[in-house]
């Protein structure tokens, strides 16, 4: 019987299977951060339970850590407390923590792969919806809430209904690999399938334009699977995957043996059936800019802000949503995307804060200055990314252009730390959600690639980055 990659990973992790019922799934790696874990640890204490596999559990602080000078104390006392509570919990329960001063601190979805905690074929969970990122390595990875976090800490298992399978093929080659990025691929996919088009499924991304991507680019694609409503996104591992992970700190000691197994087992069989399938063509994808208040409200940089009735295609609810989104975003239909001017630029988040993202963005700004109307910041995804970028001199390029160069964390992606938009401010952001108030109450978010964000910082408005010399 032929099987998809998802089915192979699922089947090899089922502890208990009930006919037509939910399955108990074994969890290979559990990533923990300060925001969704405190109540879970409290629950363990209350019920006198231990963490079943502290050796498979890894923690860091990312959501609310300030991205300013780390030698200074944290001003926000509530944040400081939450960070300290995680430190205490990790100490009490014997969990490895990469604390605020660790050279391995960073956004949980950046450091997992970076440290080799993420490996192909594994099941990975984290109390964070963007856990789907790790699917780039052929791992089955999904976000869970705090009760499930407690359940996994206590049992290393999770009850789940078996998801359906969804094949998304992106065929052919991108026309300009620097201007049309992984972010543009995933935004155009979500734009077409909608915010719940992937509901109940695990997506496997396939096709030449996907295998052409580097590991960091694949992470960008899988990261936003949740914005399409999917439980997880997967890409079959290949030589790039094995090379990327080789020699990283936490990969299994018998790495070469593992690679043999992964090569043989971790791909969808020829002719395997998916519950649904759609195909995109990479050569038709343009640089994308979101104009509304969910990630599906996105268009080509060369287009105009849509008229609600044109966007809604006859669906009155969609039309209403678009009218409301345009009000919130303070945009008029028919405005050229390239005429939208910006107040802020944010390069960072678990979607786009890795070394390659920063390299690509730096090419746009080298020798130029940020528009005087714009405040721009770069928040590297991890301390390691920051260090590697500084070794390449990227910090200097960004700072010379008047970008702020900051410490690693989630930062302005979700507005939990002091990095937020003021009401009415408009931001080109490399993050993943343009929801109302996400980056600060009343803030207006446009989701874009790092290259687009960098170009917007310099020009003060969006530009067709295909016209820039990015080689």
């Amino acid at each position: 019987m032929t099987k998809t990659l998802f089915e192979k990973i699922w089947d090899s992790h089922v502890v208990v299977e009930q006919k037509d019922g939910p399955s108990l799934l074994y969890v290979d790696r559990h990533l923990v951060h300060e925001v969704t874990s405190p109540q879970a640890f409290d629950g363990l204490r209350m019920n006198k339970r231990k963490v079943r596999r502290p050796d498979l559990t890894f923690a860091t602080v990312d959501h609310n850590v300030p991205t300013s000078d780390r030698s200074l104390p944290i001003i926000d006392q509530i944040s400081a407390k939450q960070i300290q509570v995680l430190e205490t919990n990790c100490k009490n329960f014997g969990i490895q923590l990469f604390d605020i001063h660790s050279p391995n601190q960073g956004i949980v979805h950046v450091i997992g792969p970076e440290l080799g905690i993420t490996i192909p074929g594994a099941t990975i969970v984290c109390g964070d919806s963007h856990t789907s990122t790790h699917g780039a390595f052929g791992a089955l990875a999904f976000g869970i809430g705090t009760s499930d976090v407690e359940h996994v800490l206590a049992t290393q298992c999770l009850w789940m209904d078996r998801p359906k399978t969804f094949e998304i093929r992106v065929e052919g080659k991108r026309k300009n690999v620097h201007a049309v990025t992984a972010k543009d691929i995933i935004l155009s996919i979500i734009r077409q399938m909608g915010t719940s088009g992937g509901a109940g499924t695990v997506i496997e991304y396939r096709g030449q334009a996907i295998t052409d991507l580097t590991m960091e680019q694949r992470m960008t694609v899988c990261n936003m699977s949740i914005e399409g409503g999917a439980r997880a996104g997967l890409i079959a591992p290949d030589e790039k995957t094995f090379q990327y992970l080789k020699g990283r700190q936490y990969v299994p000691k018998n790495y070469d043996e593992c690679v043999d197994y992964w090569q043989k087992n971790l791909k969808s069989d020829r002719g395997a059936d998916f519950d649904k399938s759609i195909t995109f063509h990479a050569d038709k994808i343009s640089p994308q800019v979101s104009w509304g208040t969910n990630p599906a409200m996105t268009t080509n940089v060369t287009d105009t802000v849509p008229f609600p009735e044109e966007y809604a295609k006859g669906n009155p609810d969609e039309e209403k949503a678009a009218i409301k989104a345009l009000q919130y975003m303070n945009l008029k239909p028919g405005t050229y995307i390239t005429d939208i001017s910006l107040d802020r630029v944010f390069i960072g988040s678990c979607t786009n804060s890795r070394l390659e993202d920063l390299i690509e963005a730096s090419k746009v700004i080298e020798g130029k200055k940020v528009s005087p109307k714009v405040r721009a910041m770069v928040v590297p995804g991890s301390q390691l990314v920051k260090k590697q970028a500084e070794e390449l001199g990227l910090d200097k390029i960004f700072k010379d252009a008047n970008f702020e160069w900051r410490e690693s964390g989630c930062s302005m992606c979700l507005g939990m730390n002091p990095d937020i938009l003021a009401a009415g401010e408009r931001c080109a952001s490399t993050s993943n959600r343009n929801f109302e108030g996400r980056q600060g109450a009343g803030g207006r978010t446009h989701l874009v690639s790092p290259v687009m964000a960098a170009a917007a910082a310099i020009s003060g408005h969006f530009v067709d980055v295909r016209e820039l010399d990015l080689n």
Binding site: T36, N47, N64, I78, H151, T195, L414
Partner: protein, 160 residues
């Protein structure tokens, strides 16, 4: 279970508006409740009563995995959210911690229910009575696992 409706005729009500990011640092559930729905409806806290239901459109609770979202609603007094569909993590969070019931309803029921209607939800019969309008709607039965977790009173009480 009887209560009054607070209706939002809107799809994709995300967890960032249900409980905005800055409040994720708060551990006290009653304190969280003061900020429920703050990103969408500034008056929510003053108008919500214990036992109320929220009625909303598609993909309710999309976005972040924050369990703070159903917690903030539950500690505001919301006993159930009736929506055309739910995002998965919100759905699981709502039942795992036994915070509130996520109930899927069909388009016709959604359109029929108005703000401030009094509903009676009878989950054993998968039935929703609109006492204000004297109508009866059917709710989508809970999937097997979810039904068992709800019956057990949350994930940790559930024994297969």
């Amino acid at each position: 279970m009887k209560g009054s409706v607070i209706k939002y005729e809107k799809d994709n009500i995300d967890t960032d508006v249900i409980l905005p990011g800055p409040y994720l640092k708060i551990h006290d559930y009653n304190e969280l409740a003061k900020h429920a729905m703050e990103g969408l409806d500034k008056d929510f806290h003053s108008k919500v009563k214990n036992g109320d239901f929220i009625v909303a459109g598609r993909n309710f609770g999309c976005g972040s995995s924050r369990e703070h979202a159903p917690i903030a609603l539950a500690y505001s007094g919301i006993k159930a959210v009736l929506a055309l569909s739910f995002a998965r993590i919100f759905y699981r969070n709502a039942v795992d911690g036994a915070f509130l019931l996520p109930i899927e309803i069909d388009e016709k029921s959604y359109k029929s229910i108005s703000d401030k209607d009094i509903l009676e939800i009878v989950t054993e019969k998968n039935e929703i009575k609109n006492l204000t309008k004297n109508q009866i709607y059917s709710m989508k039965p809970f999937p097997e696992l979810i039904g068992k977790i709800i019956a057990a009173g949350g994930l940790f009480n559930y024994k297969p």
